[in-house]
Each structure stands twice: as C-alpha cells, then as structure tokens.
C-alpha cells in the first residue's frame, strides 16, 4: 500500500471572477490556494472584492468565470455536505429575534448537524468568553448591536467548521470580544481548521493571520506573510507633523527644505500636516522641526509610526488605503 494521498487544498481558485450585474464590480481572475490549518486575512479598501471572495467561498455566490474547489470538491453546484464543512459569518445577519441568544445558537448548531458541533459545555464556555453568558437567555430583540455581532460570530464558530469565513469580524466587538475571537481563530487553526477573514482594520487583525491577501478593485495585489509584506518597507518610519493653519504658498518651499534633511526618504502630506518617511527612525525629527519652526509655522502635534499594511498598499498602488474611495463594498 502506498503513502496516503495528500490532502487537497481547502481552497483552490484559478482565474476566479465574479461581476455584480449593476456595478460590474466584483472579483477579477483571482488565483488563490489556502491550506488546512491556515489563517488568511483578506485586506483591501471598500469595493476591492473582499466580501465577494468570502461569499464565493461560502458558496453563497457562483463564480462567473474560473474554477473554485473547496476541500477538493467543485464549489458549484454546492452540495449540502460541502456546505456543512463551511461556516460564514457575514458582516451583518439576521436572527430569530423573538428567540433567545442560546436558542439561536442551538438552532444554527443543529442546522449544521449535531455531530459537527461542540458540546453544550463548550457552547457555554464560548458564550462566557464573548461576554454573552449572562445575556444568553434573553431574547435577541433586546440585544445591542455589539451583542448581535458576537452572536453572529458564535453561530459560525460554535459549529467547529473546517472552513471558517469571517467578514469584518472586529465590527462592534469590544476588547474582551476581540481577545476571545483571536483565541478562537488560533484554536481553530491549531485543530487543523482553516480561517479566512476579511477586514478593513489594518493594525491588528491582519497580524493574526499566517498570510495576508491584499486586494484592490477586484484584483489580487499580493499575498504573503505579514512579515514578508512589511520587510520591503523595513526602516521607513513615518513622521507626521500637524501644523496650525498657514498660507498654501508656504508649503512648496518648506517641502523642498525638508527633503534636504539626511535620512529623509519622501515628503508629502495635505493641508494641515506634512508627512515624511525616514530611514533612520526618529533621528531626523529635530532637524525637521527646526526647519518647520524657522519657516514661521506653528507645530500642533508630532506622530511617529512604523510602516504598516497601508504603506504596503500605497507602495503597490500609489494610493493611501485609509482614504481610498475607489469603489463600493
């Protein structure tokens, strides 16, 4: 008897495309492989195709072009057996609001098949971890936005799926909720489960992932580990100096002067602030401040930050991720 056949990738997409009828936007020719036990963060501005990708993986949408296999099986037409292995927590979702949180959780666990779900004790532990334990027996109609969001996540997590899909999971979550979510994602991954999460949040969630897929206008920009993505920009500290209102004609000469400071890589900014990239951390700061003050400008605030995913996005597209308005969700 030969060695056992290797497990197929959990997700294998080739040339995956989907267009919404009205806007024509969606996803274009995406290639992607996701292994068992992997955590993938999908990051991009509104309209970049994050939610569309998750919906395709959840078999909620059928691709217009290309191929998509999940656990080695074609995603279209979706079989109930395939769907039982996948749990999708959309960015918003309804509940049976006259029922309690626990009853909703029981319902979705049962719909997914009791065998696949955890014990009631584990369900109680999950409710406690997400600070819903005391509210579990209240009708969902009485829940706050954040509590509904937590319940939506728990309905997906509690089924212990092989592929967990989370769309903007941090929305509405408090600090304990975020901590519990991170711990659950790690635990699912440790148990061989795969997690794909889509997020607009750039500072924390993508760094929970093994790899980050950056999308822009439906296209794949890059997919790599967070460390590898940031390596290119290593040593590029961003120095942001907020200024009091000043005449616009003062700006160009000031920026020219700032560029002459040693270790300054790039100078930019908008009305009210200048932004400088430094290759030597905060070392150029005294010289920069001196030039600004000599120009007769009043400094309101100074902020130093290490490069992040927004800088990676900017380096690849020339646009800032936080201010992008390149499309619709």
């Amino acid at each position: 008897m030969g060695p056992p056949a290797p497990e197929p990738e959990v997700v294998r997409a080739r040339g995956l495309s989907f267009r919404y009828r009205g806007s024509g936007k969606g996803l274009e020719s995406l290639d992607l492989d996701v292994e068992a036990g992997e955590v993938l963060a999908v990051v991009g501005p509104n309209g970049s195709g994050k939610s569309t990708l998750l919906r395709l993986l959840a078999t909620d949408r059928i691709a217009g072009d290309g191929s998509l296999t999940l656990f080695g099986l074609p995603a279209a037409p979706p079989s109930p057996q395939l769907r039982r292995r996948i749990a999708f927590a959309p960015d918003e979702g309804p509940h049976l609001s006259a029922l309690t949180g626990r009853e909703n959780l029981d319902l979705f666990r049962a719909l997914r098949g009791r065998a696949a779900g955890p014990s009631h004790r584990r369900q109680d532990a999950l409710l406690e971890a997400f600070s819903l334990g005391r509210e579990a027996d209240r009708p969902v109609a009485e829940y706050s936005f954040g509590m509904r969001r937590k319940l939506l996540l728990l309905e997906a997590i509690a089924g212990a799926p092989d592929l967990l899909l989370l769309d903007e999971p941090s929305i509405g979550l408090d600090a304990p909720g975020l901590g519990a979510l991170q711990s659950e994602i790690r635990s699912r991954s440790g148990a061989g489960g795969t997690v794909v999460l889509a997020t607009n949040e750039l500072r924390e969630l993508p760094f929970w992932a093994d790899r980050v897929l950056l999308l822009d206008r439906g296209r794949r920009l890059v997919c790599d580990t967070p460390g590898a993505l940031l390596q290119e920009l290593q040593g590029r500290t961003r120095i942001r100096i907020a200024l009091a209102p000043h005449p616009p004609e003062w700006r160009a000469p000031l920026e020219r002067e700032l560029r002459t400071v040693p270790h300054v890589h790039a100078v930019g900014g908008e009305a009210g602030f200048v932004e400088v990239q430094s290759t030597a951390g905060g070392a150029p700061l005294p010289a920069l401040l001196s030039l600004v003050l000599d120009a007769g400008l009043e400094v309101r605030d100074v902020h130093l930050s290490e490069p992040g995913l927004a800088d990676v996005f900017e380096a690849l597209t020339g646009r800032r991720l936080e201010h992008d308005d390149g499309g619709t969700s």
């Binding site: 909620d60 039982r84 309804p94 049976l96 009853e103 319902l107 719909l111």
Partner: protein, 254 residues
C-alpha cells in the same frame, strides 16, 4: 436536535404572544357575526372557507418572504441543512400553528350550528388540517414567485381565490360537468363541504365526481382526491425546494 426549523418556528409562534392572540382573535371578528347573525348558511360557509384558506396561504407566504428579504433563509440554506427539510418543517409548523389559532373560530362555528356535535367538529378539524397544509404549500410557491411583501399578499389572495373557484366554492355544483370532475382534486373541497354541512345541516358531498354515486363513495373520493393532491403538491415542493429557497432568498430580487 430533530427538526430544528420546526422547533424554532413553533417556539417563535408561542413566544410572540401578542401576534398569536391577534391571529386567533381576528378570525373571530368575522366568524362571530356570521355565526350569530342571519347570514344565509351557504354564504357563511363560503366566507369561512375563503377566510381559512387565505389565512393559511398568507400566513405561509408573508413570513417566508420577510425572512427571504432579511437573509435569514439564506443563512439557513448556507449551513448545508437540506432546503426541502427547511421548507417542509416550516409547512408542518405553520399548519399546526394555524390550526391552533383557528381553533376558537371552528369551535364557534360548530357551537352555533344546528345539530352539530363532536363528530362534525372532528371532521371539520380534519378538513381544515388538509386545507391549511395545502394552503401553506401554496404559500411557499407564492413566496418563490413574489418579489415583495405586497406582491406576496396579492398573489396569495388571487391564487387562493382561483383555487377556491376551481374547488367549486363560488358556484352551484352541476353534476356531470367538467368543473364537477375537477372540484374533488382540489384539497379545499372537504373543508368547504364540511362547513356547508354544518351550516346548512344537509349533506354536501357531490358523489363520484358529480356522477351520482352514493354519499360514502362521494365522501371517500372527495377526501381521497383532496389528500392525494395535497401530497402531490408536497412532493413537488420538496423536489423543487432548492430552487424555491434560492428564488426566495436571492438578493436584489425586488
């Protein structure tokens, strides 16, 4: 958990006490004046039949459309739970809840009918059960076709009235006619005939397709045909459940 959707629907109906009380009370507002007043018994029976069938059709179509619009049905389908089971569990729960909510109304009808007793109540309940199950099934198809709650209400009313017309509710039976042969195929006829018998105090069974058979053979054919048609509709709904669930929960259908 066995039949989670059925349990959820049942719990939901019992938890919404105000809605439950309204659904039980509003039919009484129509039934009470007819049962107490001097309405011609045949007309009263027609009104009761129309009321009960519309109750079932709309009670199935409107919540299903609302859940489709909200995305709840979609969430359920994506769990991998078979759409046929989702829909059929809803129909069973819906029929049971409708029966409970209409129980005061049929009790009232039997109570004020001359000479009606426990046997009439039992047969009327059976006829109502078959009619409500069929109406709930029709409601599922209405929800699949309608694109809004308003369309759902309109389609439910029109389709129910057409089917009731097909069942001969709005006309005097003409034995031997083609219409009389179709009438027993519609699962609303046993309910209507039972209501006619109770309100008029006379037998209403048409005989074998209106061909002049005896009372028992007529009754057996009427009930057998009605139940068979309801079962055919049930199998058709189960067979098309995946498509129906897709249609109801498709985004942007409005």
């Amino acid at each position: 958990m066995i039949a989670p959707v059925l349990r959820g629907e049942w719990r939901l109906a019992l938890r919404r006490r105000r809605l439950f009380a309204l659904n039980a009370g509003i039919p009484l507002l129509l039934v009470l004046p007819l049962a107490l007043g001097a309405a011609p018994p045949t007309h009263a029976a027609v009104v009761y039949t129309v009321l009960f069938v519309l109750f079932g059709t709309m009670g199935s179509a409107i919540p299903l459309l609302r859940e489709g619009e909200a995305g709840l049905l979609r969430r359920m389908v994506l769990t991998g739970y078979p759409p046929a089971r989702i829909l059929l569990e809803r129909i069973v729960a819906g029929t049971a809840v409708d029966m409970l909510q209409l129980a005061p109304a049929i009790l009232l009808i039997v109570l004020f009918a001359p000479g009606a007793g426990g046997r009439e109540l039992l047969l009327l309940s059976l006829g109502l059960g078959v009619a409500l199950a069929a109406a709930n099934l029709v409601g599922v198809w209405v929800a699949a076709v309608a694109r809004s709650l308003a369309e759902g209400a309109l389609f439910a009313a029109v389709v129910s009235l057409l089917l009731l017309h097909g069942a001969g509710v709005f006309r005097t039976p003409v034995p031997g006619s083609w219409a009389a042969r179709i009438e027993p195929l519609l699962p609303f006829l046993p309910l209507h005939h039972k209501l006619l018998e109770i309100t008029t105090g006379r037998s209403a069974a048409t005989g074998a397709g209106g061909a002049g058979g005896g009372f028992w053979s007529g009754t057996v054919i009427e009930w057998g045909s009605g139940v068979s048609t309801a079962l055919v509709l049930l199998f058709l709904t189960a067979g098309a459940a995946t498509s129906i669930a897709e249609w109801i929960s498709a985004e942007g259908r409005g």
